[in-house]
């Protein structure tokens, strides 16, 4: 097991605990973040049923996506410092990409859809090299387009692809850097919520910040 995988499987429960502890405690600012970080780090290394949390999170999955981890980081920092790293439209881009990618990937992973088609196989660039360009090029194009349009989620996708190039996860399939079932499920729920909200309350009006920042 690569050392980077161990770090990754520790980082995910740490960030999740940090995220929850911030919301439960209502703490903000540097001191709030520091306190939440200390509590979360202690909980991560506490031996739950004989093993620290990274042991259990690796048992669940060693391949939490880079995008989900970075979204957690953004959320934690936004909560702590009220910096507004992500604006509503950045979050919407994250949920749209997560939902679309989930609908492309997970049905075929469950054996649904065309007989021989498995979208996940395209994530190994050497296996179906010709067809894989749609996934690798598509992810690159999506990141480029978002960055060009001033959407900060584009940088997150960009970093996920750099993570894939670095190869620090257990998986060497690019899908595992871009998407995981948790991020996918949250994205689908958020998209449903946005659609429901628009149907009941009308379109979301862009904030002045949204309309001015490019």
């Amino acid at each position: 097991m690569k050392e980077t995988v161990i770090i990754w499987t520790a980082l995910v429960p740490f960030l999740l605990l940090l995220w929850f502890s911030q919301r439960l405690s209502g703490l903000t600012g540097v001191s709030g973040l520091a306190l939440a970080a200390v509590v979360s780090a202690a909980a991560v290394w506490f031996p739950w049923f004989g093993h620290p949390l990274p042991f259990w999170s690796a048992s669940l999955s060693a391949n939490f996506s880079v995008i989900m981890v970075l979204l957690l980081v953004v959320s934690v920092f936004d909560r702590a410092f009220e910096t507004g790293i992500f604006r509503p439209r950045d979050w919407r881009a994250a949920w749209i990409l997560g939902a679309v990618a989930s609908l492309l990937l997970y049905p075929s992973a469950l054996g649904l859809g065309p007989q021989n088609f498995d979208a996940y196989a395209l994530g190994w660039p050497w296996l179906f090299w010709g067809q894989s360009v749609w996934l690798f090029g598509g992810a690159g194009f999506a990141a480029a387009l978002l960055i060009w349009r001033g959407n900060r989620f584009g940088y997150v996708v960009f970093l996920a692809m750099l993570g894939y190039a670095a190869g620090f996860q257990e998986s060497d399939n690019i899908w595992d850097y871009l998407l995981d079932p948790v991020y996918g499920a949250v994205s689908l729920v958020m998209i449903l919520w946005i659609v429901w909200h628009r149907r009941t309350s009308g379109p979301l009006v862009p904030t002045s910040e949204e309309s001015s920042v490019q």
Partner: protein
């Protein structure tokens, strides 16, 4: 403002390149991703029988076993001719005491005392994650003398909570390096299992028939290819849905192969798919004329191109018999030619067939899921049985 626009444009180009560069760098490996199957007709298996004709022998591999469960055996031949069998055994399927056992058969023909080569505790330490049980070993003998061991570890629940691991031995299975997890699917990497022997690939590596049984139940191919000092792995789909699994992969030529499936549709036929592009795509599974009551089967190609299958024929109980069938048209039609085992109320299951370098056909299977039985015979015996069955 203009500088910010240029910076953003440069970052956008960098992001596009971050997607395309890894893809472009894989082009050489991509050109060899389906290199074709290594198919040799080889001898007919009369060499070790004084060239006198047909022979058939059986033995028990785990003679002194006290386990209440011994099942899912696999067989392989090392480069020096040693036979190696592996299976899982313990107090029950999915139990914490289940380990992967291995036995070797030397030139004297005797099977060695089985040794637990992978235990739950050891695999848990190797993988640094929770393991509640082990199962389904498969052996990958390398021309260089290395031996690979594919097996599943269960993280939660039963087989649908399993994932696949690979370990290597440099001394024919006596000692093993650390197991590492293979990434097989995006759903928490759960529910991938091996079952039948791999097919060797041109230029090294294997195509391993594997299957998923989470919500869908379907066959796939695990491609293991040498890459530098290590291995690259990837998985391609054979068929989706929820009706066939546990394929037996039989190469017919460099670019052609047939896969036979355990099929749990009510029709009770073994089904088959064919590939004419080296395993890249497969035809829709079609029922063959061979009856099979949703149970594990195995098949190999003989020196004359005929295909021999070991399977559970229909019987009042699910797996009360184990029979051999022969196909001379690449798996489309079959004739049952012999019964290897049959006993009312008993169970003979999970055959694992290989054809060794001297042409002899060797197999292991489970009896009552407690005994691991071994059988060896040559093609002369197969043809003798086929003639008698006409």
């Amino acid at each position: 403002m203009r500088d910010a626009g240029i910076g953003r444009a440069l970052l956008a180009v960098a992001a596009l390149l971050a997607g395309l560069v890894p893809w472009w760098m894989a082009r050489e490996e991509g050109a060899k991703s389906f290199p074709g199957f290594s198919v040799e007709s080889g001898p007919t298996g009369v060499g070790d029988s004084a060239a006198t004709g047909a022979f058939f022998r059986t033995a028990q591999v785990n003679t002194a076993s006290t386990h209440t469960k011994s099942h899912s055996a696999a067989l392989a031949e090392l480069s020096d001719g040693t036979l190696v069998a592996a299976w899982y055994a313990g107090s029950g399927e999915g139990a914490a005491d289940v380990a992967i056992y291995l036995s070797r058969r030397g030139v004297d023909g005797a099977w060695s005392e089985p040794a637990a080569v992978m235990t739950r505790e050891r695999v848990q330490a190797d993988l640094r994650r929770n393991v509640i049980s082990l199962g389904n070993p498969l052996l990958l003998p390398d021309d260089s003398g290395r031996l690979g061991l594919l097996f599943v570890s269960i993280a939660a629940g039963r087989w649908s909570g399993s994932s696949m691991n690979l370990a290597w031995s440099e001394d024919g299975g006596l000692t093993w390096g650390a197991a590492r997890k293979l990434t097989m699917n995006p759903l928490a990497n759960l529910s991938a299992l091996p079952r039948n022997p791999p097919a060797r690939l041109v230029g090294g590596g294997w195509a391993v028939p594997v299957y998923e049984e989470f919500l869908g139940k379907f066959p796939e191919t695990l491609w293991l290819r040498p890459r530098g000092e290590g291995w690259s792995s990837a998985v391609s789909r054979v068929e989706g849905g929820v009706y066939v699994l546990q394929s037996a992969l039989v190469p017919l030529a460099v670019d052609r192969a047939v896969s036979f499936f355990r099929d749990f549709r009510p029709a009770r036929w073994m089904s088959a798919s064919w590939s004419d592009d080296a395993g890249r795509t497969w035809t829709k599974p079609a029922a063959t004329g061979l009856p099979n009551r949703d149970s594990g089967l195995c098949a190999i190609r003989l020196s004359d191109g005929a295909i021999l299958s070991a399977f559970n024929d229909l019987s009042p109980g699910k797996r009360e018999n184990l029979r051999l069938a022969l196909s001379e048209d690449e798996g489309r039609t079959w004739r049952t030619i012999a019964t290897l085992a049959e006993e009312a109320g008993s169970e003979f299951s999970y055959p694992n067939l290989i054809r060794t370098s001297d042409g002899t056909i060797r197999m292991v299977y489970s009896a009552r899921q407690t005994q691991i039985l071994f059988a060896e015979f040559n093609e002369a015996w197969v043809h003798e049985q086929a003639e008698a069955a006409r």
